[in-house]
């Protein structure tokens, strides 16, 4: 059964179709959750709530071709993660300290020497604020204006957080290598 049909059946609350879509995307979405929420149990709960919202609101979803389900589901998962972080009152510090970390050590290809698990572990060790903006910028492809609007912070804070997060991550990578 193709994805369009699965969506249609999910709109009729068909458990088999729901299971099929769940199987297709659960692993990918769990990885997304783990990037935002470091605690694994919390990540599991966030994923559960995200899938619940997905199936609950699928009636209002319009299938626009291959990839549209994945994009919509990922958006729901990311929003659910951000909600979780908001509840934990993640603090985003201002951009005054930007210059302090504005140094590149030239390790552009450092990631090439790391596997996915090592990269994930490093991302998870970042402070919540850094990690969130890092994820939104590099994984969700958002710019600082979009990030600042989404999180209710200034663009300067977004840039600062990203810079500091990236520097911290680079430092960790170099230590590993």
């Amino acid at each position: 059964m193709d994805e369009a049909s699965l969506v249609k059946c999910c709109k009729d609350n068909n458990p088999a179709a729901q299971k099929a879509l769940y199987d297709k995307y659960v692993e990918l979405m769990m990885i997304v959750c783990l990037r935002y929420v470091a605690d694994r149990e919390d990540a599991r709960e966030v994923l559960m709530d995200a899938f619940l919202n997905f199936f609950k609101h699928i009636g209002g979803f319009t299938y626009l071709g291959e990839g549209s389900v994945k994009a919509w589901l990922k958006k729901i998962v990311v929003n659910q993660c951000l909600m979780h972080l908001r509840k934990r009152k993640v603090i985003y510090t201002t951009g005054k300290e930007l210059e302090q970390y504005d140094n590149s050590d030239g390790s552009e290809n450092a990631l090439d020497y790391l596997n996915a698990k090592e990269i994930m572990n490093m991302i998870q060790t970042l402070p919540d604020g850094y990690r969130t903006i890092f994820n939104l910028y590099f994984f969700e492809g958002m710019n600082h204006k979009e990030i600042s609007g989404l999180l209710g912070i200034s663009e300067g804070t977004s840039k600062s957080q990203l810079h500091r997060g990236r520097a911290l991550l680079r430092e960790k990578i170099l230590q590993t290598n």
Partner: protein, 269 residues
């Protein structure tokens, strides 16, 4: 500067969850999610519905019988004050059919002029079952007038129910000579279980002469209750109700009036 993490998204997209989180049980998570998506509905078996409906029905019927009646539903007290002949239909004397005259008068009758000029709105009120039955006099047993004279028998009974005033029921039956018809009175099996029925008086009148044998609790040779027992068939045999001093032709011919149910139907001899 951003080049170092340019391909990080691509790297992570290729990653497998088994590698990142080996303990993740996809199926167990699904079961939990499915439980939230499709919560099990509690179904009550049909038989339990049937039991519940039966109990509710019984409770409803029980409540209906147990409720005290309202003042508006008090049984009417029937009295018979009208002269005997006035109570009879005009063609009674000529009518060859068995005639049973009904002389039931309700005391609480509303006079028409009381509501003159007023719009009358009929409000349908629930009538208590007990009283509904009380107001329906039951012609229970056949009685044969074996005498040559027309006879009227009036039976006055009192119905006593809890929470209500006792009510009197008066019912009369007129029997032509050598004719049989139904004798009208309130039967015990037509009142509610929690009510009692007593016989106060029985008047047996010879219509032609106007002589009346009045039976009550102190009458002799028989009381009203004793005669009533023969009327209802509670006792078998015959009973002397009283004496008439003259026959229909106004001749002084003293004769006793007996009620006999020895052969089935009640016969006045």
């Amino acid at each position: 500067m951003a080049q170092d993490f340019e391909n990080i998204n691509e790297r992570m997209e290729r990653a497998s969850l088994k590698e990142l989180m080996p303990g993740f049980d996809k199926e167990a998570e699904w079961l939990q999610l499915a439980g939230k998506l499709h919560p099990a509905k509690k179904r009550i078996p049909l038989t339990r519905w049937a039991y519940a409906a039966a109990i509710l029905l019984l409770l409803g019927v029980g409540t209906w019988f147990m409720l005290p009646p309202t003042a508006n539903n008090q049984p009417a007290v029937a009295q018979q004050n009208a002269p005997l002949h006035a109570a009879l239909p005009a063609d009674t004397a000529l009518n060859t059919k068995p005639v049973i005259a009904e002389v039931d008068t309700q005391v609480n009758e509303i006079k028409p002029d009381q509501n003159k000029g007023l719009a009358v709105m009929k409000k349908r009120t629930r009538v208590h079952k007990d009283h509904d039955m009380v107001t329906k006099y039951t012609a229970k047993d056949f009685i044969c007038n074996g005498t040559p004279c027309p006879i009227q028998i009036c039976i006055n009974q009192t119905v006593t129910c809890p929470h209500t005033q006792p009510s009197t029921i008066s019912s009369s039956s007129t029997l032509e000579p050598d004719q049989s018809g139904r004798l009208r009175y309130k039967a015990h099996d037509k009142i509610a279980k929690n009510c009692s029925l007593t016989v106060n008086e029985i008047e047996i009148t010879s219509i032609a002469t106007g002589e009346t044998i009045l039976l009550n609790t102190n009458s002799s040779p028989s009381t009203a209750q004793e005669v009533f027992n023969y009327i209802t068939g509670k006792k078998k045999g015959d009973v002397l109700a009283g004496m008439f001093n003259s026959d229909c032709d106004h001749q002084d011919k003293k004769h006793g009036l007996r009620l006999n149910n020895r052969h089935g139907d009640l016969i006045i001899e």
